[in-house]
């Protein structure tokens, strides 16, 4: 990180960093999800090591995301903030309803938690798009 680095350079560096750590985290998550059954037959030590590797990659991904947000300019930070606020609000509303569906017998089984992640991801993208449109 040099002092003469301009805004575009910082953006490129941060995007590259977050892409690398996200790919590594996704690969380790996939390995953790499928490896025990298909590759190492539920060997506890290997699974345990991979859990820590996955957590480490996750931590690096979060740090890279934080760095990206810190290096954005004030308007881009505001756009991200609006996107996150929209995603958080939608996630709370949708998660609350989904959590009640089984209790009130509208569905037979509990909703998969990954559905919540999907809602968060999609609404975050929608929130960012709406905020970008507002300021363009």
């Amino acid at each position: 990180m040099s002092a003469s680095e301009n805004y575009c350079d910082k953006e490129k560096r941060n995007t590259k960093s977050i892409a690398v750590w996200t790919v590594l985290w996704l690969l380790s998550t996939a390995a953790l999800g499928f490896g025990p059954k298909f590759i190492w037959d539920y060997h506890m030590l290997i699974s345990l090591v991979l859990v820590w590797v996955n957590l480490f990659f996750g931590y690096k991904m979060v740090v890279a995301n934080k760095q990206l947000l810190e290096d954005l300019d004030e308007l881009q930070q505001k756009i991200m903030f609006l996107g996150m606020a929209f995603a958080l609000g939608c996630t709370v509303v949708v998660a609350t309803v989904l959590g009640l569906l089984e209790a009130i017998r509208l569905v037979d089984s509990a909703i998969n938690p990954s559905t919540i992640l999907f809602v968060t991801g999609i609404t975050y993208l929608i929130g960012i798009a709406m905020a970008k449109r507002k300021y363009s």
């Binding site: 301009n6 805004y7 575009c8 953006e11 954005l72 300019d73 004030e74 308007l75 881009q76 505001k78 970008k132 507002k134 300021y135 363009s136």
Partner: protein, 67 residues
């Protein structure tokens, strides 16, 4: 808030990308400020004033309230 960013930039023959680079912000931020869709923070407004060598109130003016 009204601003003269577009006029001052045009007087110097700078593109939006050049001004963005000089102020260390994204081009979208310059576009939004010029269109009056976004009011810059005080540090960014001072930075623009330093860049153009003018007092801040010569670049950014408060809009009179409607009442």
């Amino acid at each position: 808030m009204n601003n003269r960013l577009k006029v001052l930039r045009a007087e110097r023959n700078w593109t939006q990308a050049e001004l963005a680079e000089r102020l260390d912000v994204s081009r979208q931020t310059i576009v939004a400020i010029e269109k009056g869709k976004y009011d810059p923070s005080l540090p960014l407004a001072f930075k623009a004033a330093r860049l153009f060598g003018m007092p801040i109130e010569s670049i950014f003016q408060d809009e009179p309230s409607p009442d």
